[in-house]
């Protein structure tokens, strides 16, 4: 499979492998791949682990995965861009995920987003200029019984209002 790389790309692969050899996280990732016996159908599992370790999927990381799983880089990049869960950009210090499922929407999740966008000048999918807070949206996290739900740094918070959301983000920004 690697034969498809032209010469400069070969150099790049070597550079990525050199970089990887000095980074512990790459080692953990490789152990994870080994657990899946380097199976190509475990690509999504591997990318999950990679995102968990690195926070987002940068190009070098994707290239590393493609070399190790013996997959064309186009396939790895294609999968990484297809699924919403994978982030290709570095995220802010904190993440604020507003659920936009139907129940949350009907109960005013859009107003929460509006309020955050206006106050902190950040649109869904963006990070504030000071790199503190990333505003993201989710397509239903299944917490419809306690809508509208917002996930602050992985913690689901029930029955959010625009005011309580602004207060939480304010705390992060002021720190």
């Amino acid at each position: 499979m690697n034969a498809c790389f032209a010469k400069p790309q070969k150099k790049r692969i070597q550079a990525v492998l050199d970089l990887a050899s000095g980074d512990k996280r790459y080692k953990i990732l490789e152990v994870h791949m080994k657990k899946h016996q380097y199976r190509q159908d475990a690509l999504i599992e591997v990318l999950h682990k990679a995102q968990e370790l690195f926070g987002y999927l940068e190009d070098d990381l994707l290239l590393f995965v493609s070399v190790k799983l013996k997959l064309p880089p186009s396939r790895v990049f294609g999968v990484a861009t297809f699924y919403h869960f994978f982030q290709l950009q570095p995220q802010g210090e904190h993440t604020c995920v507003v659920c936009l499922g139907t129940a949350c929407y009907v109960k005013g999740a859009d107003k929460i987003i509006d309020a955050i966008t206006r106050k902190f000048n950040v649109r869904p999918g963006e990070t504030t200029a000071d790199n503190q807070v990333s505003l993201l949206t989710a397509r239903c996290i299944g917490a419809c019984g306690i809508a509208p739900a917002v996930v602050y740094d992985g913690t689901v918070t029930p029955r959010t209002t625009p005011e309580s959301a602004l207060e939480q983000i304010n705390q992060w920004v002021q720190k």
Binding site: I44, E45, F85, R139
Partner: protein
């Protein structure tokens, strides 16, 4: 592991049961309201009161009334405490000794609970989802034993045909027929896949089942695998459900340790392994061919059928694909018999259906009712109607693939055919109630935006059609459209519905079409004047 071992575990578990069991909900809804801390406080209070020998604090799955969480049930006093927090939790223990509980209570015999008929949720809120022994004590894995030792695969399929169960993922395909087709397909390797990619926004039944009773799904899959001749199963679960994933991992590990999964289950020649596959946020992966493509580690793009997965599915092998709720029904069907199951529900839709009731309604949460229950009984009697005295305007079923059922049709019985007649679908079971403050054009636009974002881009009608429909809806919502735009929208709906490759595109126009059918006046109230409509309605205040 033989039957005796299973019965022994059951007896041991029942003998170890303490006099009083306090059940504390540890499903995702209550967890985010702090139920973990509540459970710790309860345990601490039990220890402080010296009641360790009499009182067990058990972490259980969903207790259904999610809006009032965290929930704690005390069966000895027939009490259900709501919105418990760490502060008032110790008073619940004090109440066991004649004190007064400070936590609020709700009536556990209110219509919301009393009118439920539980098959899928029978164990939910009772068994500890993180202990297989707890499931075994509730007669778990007995159906699998009986199937493996007393039935041939053919008899299993016949039972499934006889019980009349239909796929709970939304389309309602007869489950027995599907099992039969996969069983007949030639192939040395076959797969069973459980679709737990509950992408429909506003639905959380599958999440609750996986969090509350994961073993029932595993047992159902094992029975299915025996029937069709598969030895490998996958559960494809959304990454958005971390708790469900964790509980499934625990369940699979425990089942393997007890040889309830793996090689030679119950000392029979039957082998079955289950692996988890975690999704990565793509609604289209709920479609079966897209899901299999994702399990193979590729982009979740659907392909034309035939060949159907029953003939050529995962890795080109015959594959049985069912929804979580479908599998969760299976153990009970074999324990209680196909005839028992076939008596529940309506003529064409057998059994029960779990609904996730949410939106502008008093009681939000999970409910399971027999098929054919009128919508009114669900939303008004059990759900308690709109909060703050508002009026229910419509009920949305089936998510982005379904439609809005207006209030005047609330007496419709809930079954596959009746909902279809109203331009909606049963869907996976999400039920969002909207009151008179909800703008139906905005709802249609919301769902179209969802479909536009989630379209995988493979076929043009869906990729381009949803975008154009969204633009038209946006134009209408912003009061910039004319009557001609509504006509154009209807034409496009028809085109996309009939020419898209997979279910996502084929059903994407449903929310728009059903709101146009029942709430056309709301669209027309937003129009600008044009040649055919010289006065326009754009200046009329929209209600």
């Amino acid at each position: 592991m033989i039957l005796n071992d299973l019965l022994q575990i059951k007896e041991k578990e029942q003998a170890a049961r303490k006099k009083i069991v306090l059940r504390c909900c540890l499903a995702a809804g209550c967890m985010s309201s702090g139920s973990k801390g509540v459970k710790e406080q309860l345990e601490k209070a039990v220890a402080e009161a010296g009641l360790q020998n009499d009182v067990e604090v058990r972490g259980v799955g969903c207790m259904k009334l999610c809006c009032e969480g965290p929930l704690v049930a005390d069966d000895s006093n027939d009490a259900l405490y709501v919105k418990v927090n760490s502060k008032n939790a110790p008073s619940i223990i004090a109440a066991l000794k004649g004190g007064k509980a400070e936590a609020d209570q709700t009536d556990p015999h209110a219509p919301f609970f009393a009118n439920q008929f539980s098959i899928v949720l029978a164990n939910s809120g009772l068994v500890d989802p993180e202990r297989v022994e707890s499931y075994i004590a509730a007669d778990g894995y007995q159906a699998l034993h009986e199937v493996l030792h007393e039935m041939t695969p053919k008899e299993v399929v016949e039972t499934m045909v006889k019980c009349g169960l239909r796929g709970r993922g939304g389309a309602g395909f007869p489950t027995g027929l599907k099992w039969g087709t996969v069983a007949k397909s030639a192939g040395a390797k076959k797969y069973v896949i459980c679709n737990a990619d509950e992408g429909d926004p506003g639905a959380f039944m599958d999440r609750s089942v996986l969090e509350s009773d994961p073993h029932s799904v595993l047992e159902g899959m094992a029975i299915a695998a025996y029937a069709v001749g598969a030895d490998q199963g996958y559960i494809y679960v959304r990454a958005e459900y971390p708790l469900a994933i964790a509980r499934l991992q625990i369940a699979i590990k425990q089942a393997k340790q007890m040889s309830l999964l793996g090689a030679g289950i119950f000392e029979s020649p039957f082998n079955f392994n289950v692996d988890l596959r975690i999704g990565a946020g793509a609604f289209v992966c709920g479609e079966e061919t897209a899901l299999m493509s994702s399990v193979e580690g590729k982009r979740g793009v659907p392909r034309p059928r035939p060949p159907f997965p029953a003939e050529s599915g995962l890795f080109g092998c015959p594959t049985l694909l069912n929804n979580v709720e479908t599998f969760a029904n299976v153990p009970t069907i074999f324990r209680k018999g196909a005839d028992w199951f076939a008596k529940i529900g309506t003529e064409k839709s057998k059994g029960t259906k779990v609904f996730a009731l949410a939106g502008k309604i008093k009681n939000t949460g999970l409910l399971e009712v027999p098929m054919g229950t009128p919508l009114r009984a669900i939303v008004e009697e059990m759900g308690g109607g709109a909060p703050d005295g508002g009026a229910i305007k419509a009920v949305q079923t089936g998510g982005p693939s379904g439609g809005c059922i207006p209030a005047q049709h609330l007496d419709t019985p809930v079954d596959y055919e009746s909902l279809g007649k109203l331009g909606s679908i049963m869907g996976s079971g999400g039920m969002i109630v909207m009151d008179d403050t909800t703008n139906m054009v905005e709802i249609a636009r919301f769902f179209m935006e969802f479909c536009m974002d989630e379209s995988c881009g493979k076929c043009i009608p869906c990729r381009a059609g949803t975008t154009q429909m969204y633009r038209l809806l946006d134009k209408i919502a912003n009061r910039q459209a004319t009557a001609r735009d509504i006509e154009k929208l209807e034409e496009l709906c028809d085109l996309v519905r009939n020419t898209s490759l997979c279910g996502l595109g084929q059903t994407a126009p449903n929310p728009t079409l059903s709101t146009l059918r029942f709430f056309r006046h709301e669209y027309e109230a937003l129009l600008l004047p044009d040649r055919h409509n010289p006065n326009g309605n754009g200046s009329v205040k929209h209600v």
